[in-house]
């Protein structure tokens, strides 16, 4: 959660390097979690992660922050 919040904050404040670093760490941290998820969830989560990475690569940082805060967060809480 700490890494997720760090990524969200960095994206919303426009701190590119920190956002990139936090997002990379977050994806690394998610890997062991996603393997334990119910099989019906995994494709949805992968799609969401793809959308986050696409937003990041086109520099749509506030959308990346939204997806992290309001969509990915739901999976993590569940």
């Amino acid at each position: 959660m700490e890494t997720l919040n760090r990524a969200i904050k960095a994206f919303r404040l426009g701190i590119e390097g920190e956002a990139s670093e936090a997002l990379t760490q977050l994806i690394d941290q998610l890997a062991p979690i996603t393997s334990k998820l119910p099989t019906e969830i995994t494709p949805k989560l992968n799609l969401l992660l793809d959308e986050i990475l696409n937003a990041f690569s086109r520099k749509d940082y506030l959308w990346a922050a939204d997806l992290l805060e309001y969509e990915l967060n739901e999976y993590i809480i569940e």
Binding site: R12, L13, E16, E18, D60, Y61, L62, W63, Y70
Partner: protein, 410 residues
């Protein structure tokens, strides 16, 4: 406001998001949060100290940020700087801005009239940095630098163990090598070429060969091999980075040929470079705290550093007394789809996909890295503050346009 109203919206592709707090998506970039704009704005106000009375907001987005700041009782003035009038017009025609725009404490400004000057305390609607127009490019890059600097500076802190260890490995050299100060005022009134390894170096090599005797040449480490390949032996080499990749520039050199060639270095460079160097070595430090310990142990002189060896080479040239400094290969962008000149030994495979751009000498957008943009703006600031009698010249229009330089006449 008149400037905003006459904007051409045809340059932008836009749509409204179908999210719970709708926002504009302009050229694929969400202008603000699509879920909770006021919460996002509250977060962005954190950059502004509570006691501030006069503040700068760069980009207005959907207006949530200036509105949030106006709720603070201390605020007496908010300067809202528009980075793209067309984006502002879109926002003004799709959202109700009357809750902040009619407040007498608000002043609207246009980025193009700011002359790249940044004010603080500031906060930013970050999407607008991606949507800034050409006239606000310099200002945009300075905002970007301001935002990322605290994070980047952590790399140079006293606590960065990688750097501390690297400096420790080089202490044996620092102890016996000269102080860069010994080179100051040794070229008073002279013309100094700073050769960097951008792609435009290739086109300047023939002129440098023909006019070799007219100039003192400082080579940044990555330009050394291309210069030697063109039979140009520089007068001095400078290296400041800790990246192990740069060692390759110093391998397989003819040590006999270079034994009188001075090397200026920061103590964080890979030790192999110092052991390979056959000529005299001069240590310099930067202003960063990572050098505080060795600076105390072996006091030597600082040179300016801000991420690129180009900055340090420029400061050295000024302190050597140059009246004319000519940048060669200082492209700070991917001119003609390349990062480096031929013969550096480094490929262009690092370019990858980039969304960043700067204007070249012709006024066209050319791709670059975010870091290069930052180096460019810090170089421009250095030039602006340099002694007025020093003339700065750029050898090419194919790289990034460097404000404060004239074009080298071929």
């Amino acid at each position: 406001m008149a400037e905003i109203l006459k904007s051409d919206l045809l340059q932008l592709q836009f749509e409204m998001s179908d999210t719970i707090d709708p926002t504009l998506i302009i050229n694929g970039i969400h202008l603000s949060s699509g879920y909770n704009q006021s919460s996002e704005a509250e977060l962005q106000t954190e950059r502004i100290p509570e006691f501030s009375t006069e503040v700068w907001v760069y980009g207005l987005a959907t207006g949530a940020l200036p509105y949030a700041l106006l709720q603070r009782v201390n605020i007496k003035k908010i300067h809202v700087v528009i980075l793209n009038p067309a984006v502002a017009l879109l926002s003004l025609t799709h959202f109700d801005h009357s809750d902040w725009l009619n407040d007498s404490r608000v002043e609207l400004r246009v980025g193009r009239e700011e002359n790249g000057k940044l004010h603080s305390p500031l906060t930013v609607c970050p999407a607008e940095l991606q949507l800034a127009d050409d006239d606000s490019a310099r200002l945009r890059d300075k905002i970007f630098l301001e935002l990322v600097s605290p994070y980047m500076n952590k790399r140079h802190s006293e606590d960065n163990s990688d750097i501390v260890e690297q400096i420790a490995r080089n202490t044996q050299y620092v102890a016996k090598d000269g102080d860069v100060k010994a080179l100051f005022n040794t070229k008073v009134g002279g013309s100094i070429i700073i050769a960097a390894a951008g792609p435009s170096l290739d086109k300047s090599l023939p002129k440098m060969v023909v006019e070799r005797e007219k100039y003192f040449i400082i080579a940044v480490n990555s330009a050394l091999k291309p210069l030697l390949a063109a039979s140009i032996i520089p007068d001095l080499v400078i290296v400041i980075d800790d990246d192990p990749k740069i060692v390759s520039s110093f391998q397989a050199l003819n040590t006999e040929q270079l034994k009188s060639l001075p090397l200026v270095y920061f103590p964080r460079v890979p030790s192999e470079i110092l052991s390979l160097w056959s000529g005299p070595r001069f240590t310099a430090y930067s202003q960063y705290r990572s050098y505080d310990s060795i600076r105390k142990q072996y006091p030597k002189t600082n040179l300016f550093a801000s991420g690129s060896v180009l900055h340090t080479a420029t400061d050295l040239a000024v302190k050597m007394g140059a009246k004319q400094i000519i940048f060669v290969g200082a492209d700070l962008a991917f001119s003609n789809g390349q990062i480096y000149a031929k013969g550096t030994g480094w490929g262009d495979d690092e370019i990858g996909a980039t969304q960043h751009w700067v204007l070249d000498g012709y006024g066209n957008r050319i791709p670059t890295r975010a870091s290069f943009r930052g180096y460019l703006r810090d170089l421009e600031d250095y030039i602006e503050q340099a002694p007025a009698e020093v003339e700065f010249i750029n050898s090419s229009k194919e790289g990034a346009n460097i404000a404060g330089t004239m074009l080298w006449k071929h």
